[in-house]
Symmetry: C2
Subunit: 172 residues, 2 copies
């Protein structure tokens, strides 16, 4: 292993450094260890396909479509029909190991596995990168607003489209 497992790699988990370069390899290793632990606690099984899908998401470190994932699975000898990918992705999302980005019809590995968190996604329209930020405050505000009409929120989708730091200044 590159270095000891830890829970606070700035490059992987800190929202304010989400766009900074960092060591993907160790993130993935750490995340897989945590994923094993979390699914085990939940009585769920991180089977080979599921584990491999999570690895793929971690390796790419960006949002992947179900068919992108499927293509990689198929190339490695797993089933090559859509349900194979969709089922694994659904499992990962249910377990809190991955998130779905509605705007992109895509999936990305969670960077806060095991922590209760309300994720927001910052999607760069220039380079397609996706950063996971904290939607805690935004979600609270939304709950307050919903509460005024008696609506009971269960899940939220909070996504922003714009330009990441790297892409600002390049082209407008």
């Amino acid at each position: 292993m590159a270095h000891a497992a830890h829970t606070d790699c700035p490059g992987c988990t800190a929202p304010d450094l989400a766009f900074a370069a960092h060591d993907h390899a160790h993130c993935a290793e750490d995340a897989l260890i945590r994923a094993e632990a979390l699914t085990s606690v939940n009585g769920a099984r991180l089977t080979p396909v599921r584990r491999r899908v999570l690895e793929i998401l971690l390796e790419e470190h960006r949002a992947l479509g179900a068919y992108d994932v499927l293509a990689r699975l198929a190339a490695e000898g797993y089933g090559n029909q859509p349900p194979v990918a969709y089922r694994a992705l659904e499992f990962l999302v249910e377990q809190g190991l991955a998130h779905r980005i509605q705007r992109l019809n895509a999936f990305t590995a969670c960077v806060h596995m095991g922590e209760a968190h309300a994720p927001a996604f910052l999607i760069c329209r220039a380079c397609q990168s996706v950063a996971e930020a904290s939607a805690g405050a935004a979600r609270s505000a939304l709950e307050a607003e919903a509460g005024r009409s008696g609506f009971a929120i269960e899940r939220t989708t909070i996504e922003a489209l714009g330009l990441c730091p790297k892409c600002q200044g390049k082209a407008e």
Copy 2:
């Protein structure tokens, strides 16, 4: 006309009454008048197809898929190929006359036409109703969070899934 056009029908525009019963007919009439004015100001044209699509969204007063809209258009003699519906819907969204609900792959008429606003959508998972609420506070919180990593937000998608007042208590 049912009554004089106005801009503050509680049933149509007030977030806290979004789920209350109200007079759809006058909402639609009023909204169409405003839509004509707004597009005219923008130098855009509210053509028959576009106007009819907006009417359909207003009549239904719920989120409609592009193919739902298309079916209604086709039944009335308009083109029956997907681009007819998608183009009209895209136009309405660009003009701020309608919104897209990412989570539902559906569209709904805007209830705050002409006002600058950040919409949030409250989607009832039981009755599929969709209320447009104000995401002002949530959006500010999100912008603050994004700003910390240097991300420049251009557009936001803020949606919540849950139970509307009517459906709470019925089935859990």
